[in-house]
């Protein structure tokens, strides 16, 4: 077993364990900090594939946002940011059934997909070509429509959040 495989397994185990801790710890802030570790693990997986751009973007976008997430969690939860009571409700078996079925279905669908077994192209030694990536995002033959749709979606979410957060003055008067 090569060194890189051992590193991969270590990183994967840490990522999965911390992802599990995100949903199981009781303190909101601890959950957010475990989320930092899980997202760092994903960035490390990208780095193991020898790309340079995506791990950096992963850290910039997600871990940068975690600080904000923690603040929102602290502000919105009651008492000492610790929820009390059971973490499960009476429908837990239904949720478990749906998610396990979904997981099996996804694995089955992906294993039938012909692209599943193709090996990825090796990244050239200077790192991947960011210019080609940028051009693909703005090329009509490339990904410009998904890119713009995603931007419009985010803009809509932003405006919606501002609309919800603003106090409307005519109602007060």
């Amino acid at each position: 077993m090569a060194v890189i495989q051992i590193v991969f397994i270590l990183v994967a185990v840490v990522t999965i364990i911390s992802a599990g801790m995100v949903v199981s710890v009781r303190s909101m802030v601890h959950a957010a900090l475990w989320l930092v570790l899980a997202l760092l693990g994903v960035a490390a997986l990208f780095a193991l594939l020898q790309v340079r751009f995506f791990p950096v973007v992963q850290v910039l976008v997600y871990i940068g946002a975690i600080a904000t997430l923690i603040i929102v969690a602290v502000m919105l939860t009651r008492q000492v940011m610790q929820d009390v009571g059971s973490q499960l409700n009476s429908n837990w078996w239904l949720a478990a059934f749906v998610s396990v079925t979904l997981f099996i279905g996804m694995v089955w669908a992906l294993s039938n997909w012909p692209g599943m077994m193709t090996t990825t192209r090796a990244v050239p030694p200077g790192g991947e070509d960011i210019v080609a990536f940028g051009k693909a995002l703005t090329d009509p033959a490339g990904f410009v429509i998904p890119f713009e749709v995603a931007s419009v979606l985010l803009l809509g979410a932003l405006i919606g959040a501002i609309f919800l957060a603003t106090e409307r003055k005519e109602k007060q008067g």
Partner: protein, 413 residues
């Protein structure tokens, strides 16, 4: 003579040759060289902080008409060592109810997030940690790890003041990232590359001549990222006890202190890289050591400027700080990026002099328009005063009249 031209490259080659005669495989030699280099760079940065603190206290002392530290050693240069010894031997006080992991991890993250930036900085043509095509993004990403450290310190301390201060600090850090990233788009655009080595190599003409306004926006927003005066309202030592690091003592506090000074120096390094041509200068390509000297000189000038700003400018109020960011710097840098991209694309690539003239004129125009708009807005919506109405005793003629009447009474009585 090779050693004098390029000491770092020479030593690395020598070490590589030595290790390969011992029969170590090439992969491990590269790994060990990177390990040694990272250790030396980090240690050098931490040792540098000792002298930065001394230099800064000396300069600020002169600005405030004092001597600064002058007792321990010649010119007080060993003062920081005495402080170091004191802070090393101080007691660690851990308050009850702290979140033990995040409380102890926060100072480490604060220093690490600054030191990680040094990995991509090109100190000379041969002397840099690593070079990759997303280095500019990497610098911003590493900075966001520092924000997580601030939140962990604030929340882990089990102190409401620490937590409130951490909220304010993170609001400031996240807000000022926006104009910082936007102003960094300009050097990336001129170089056509996001690697710092590429950006330095594309600057026979310094970027500050192509984007003077972008350089100013970057300087302001990076000072705000560091949280120094005039943006030091997270610390505000004359108003609050301290910021998010209020519950830290001993070396844990010392790490925040070191991170603060090191960050201030790092932004000067980055400013010199992005806008002042990095190690570029006459003869720097032939003699890498000369490039290193140029780089240190440029960085020193920028650092001196930031220290002078710290000494000279009063602190912003939080609403003024947010207004400066969201109502001035962010729109300004957005407009600047769009106009610069358009004009730079139109200009012929081989006429450098024309490029510089047109870009400077463009920047001046953008600044004049922005200034006019600000004044116009300020006149229409004057900033509400938050000062209380003057108390009668404090008013000048009244106070004089009263004091004279008091003295008259005293004479009569």
């Amino acid at each position: 003579m090779n050693f004098l031209y390029d000491p770092v490259g020479f030593l690395a080659e020598w070490l590589r040759g030595l290790l390969s005669t011992w029969g170590i495989p090439d992969v491990w030699i590269t790994f060990m060289l990177f390990l040694v280099g990272a250790g030396l760079l980090a240690t050098g940065a931490m040792v540098l902080v000792v002298f930065l603190i001394w230099g800064e206290r000396k300069v600020i002392g002169r600005v405030q008409d004092r001597f600064g530290p002058n007792r321990v050693g010649p010119w007080g240069i060993f003062q920081t060592f005495a402080d170091l010894l004191k802070i090393f031997t101080k007691e660690y006080i851990t308050p009850t109810g702290v979140d033990i992991v995040s409380y102890n991890l926060a100072p480490i993250l604060a220093v690490a997030s600054v030191l990680m930036v040094w990995a991509v900085i090109p100190f000379s043509i041969t002397f840099y940690g690593t070079d990759f095509n997303a280095a500019v993004l990497y610098i911003m990403a590493v900075g966001s790890i520092g924000e997580v450290g601030v939140v962990m310190a604030g929340w882990g301390s089990n102190n409401k003041y620490a937590m409130l201060a951490a909220f304010r600090a993170v609001a400031q850090l996240i807000s000022y990232e926006v104009p910082m990233v936007l102003s960094l788009v300009l050097p990336v655009m001129f170089a056509g590359s996001m690697s710092l080595v590429g950006i330095v190599q594309s600057q026979p003409v310094w970027n500050i001549f192509l984007a003077p306004l972008g350089a100013i926006v970057f300087l302001i927003s990076s000072i705000a990222e560091v949280g120094r005066a005039p943006f030091d309202l997270t610390e505000s030592e004359s108003e609050l006890v301290a910021g998010f690091n209020i519950e830290y003592s001993g070396l844990k506090f010392g790490m925040f202190y070191v991170a603060d000074f090191l960050h201030a120096f790092t932004i000067s390094l980055l400013f010199a890289t992005f806008f002042l041509g990095g190690w570029q200068g006459p003869g720097a390509a032939q003699f890498p050591f000369l490039g290193f000297v140029y780089y240190v000189l440029k960085t020193g000038c920028v650092y001196f400027l930031t220290v002078l700003m710290r000494a000279a400018l009063p602190r912003f109020r939080i609403d003024q700080m947010m207004d400066l960011n969201w109502k001035f710097l962010t729109p300004l840098s957005l407009v600047l990026v769009m106009l610069s991209a358009l004009v730079y694309k139109i200009l012929p690539k081989n006429m450098v002099f024309l490029q510089v003239i047109v870009m400077v004129v463009l920047n001046v125009l953008v600044y004049v328009v922005a200034d006019w708009l600000l004044n116009y807005y300020e006149k229409r919506n004057p900033r509400p005063a938050v000062v209380n109405e003057l108390r009668p005793m404090a008013r000048f003629p009244y106070a004089v009249a009263q004091s004279s009447s008091v003295s008259k009474k005293a004479r009569e009585g």
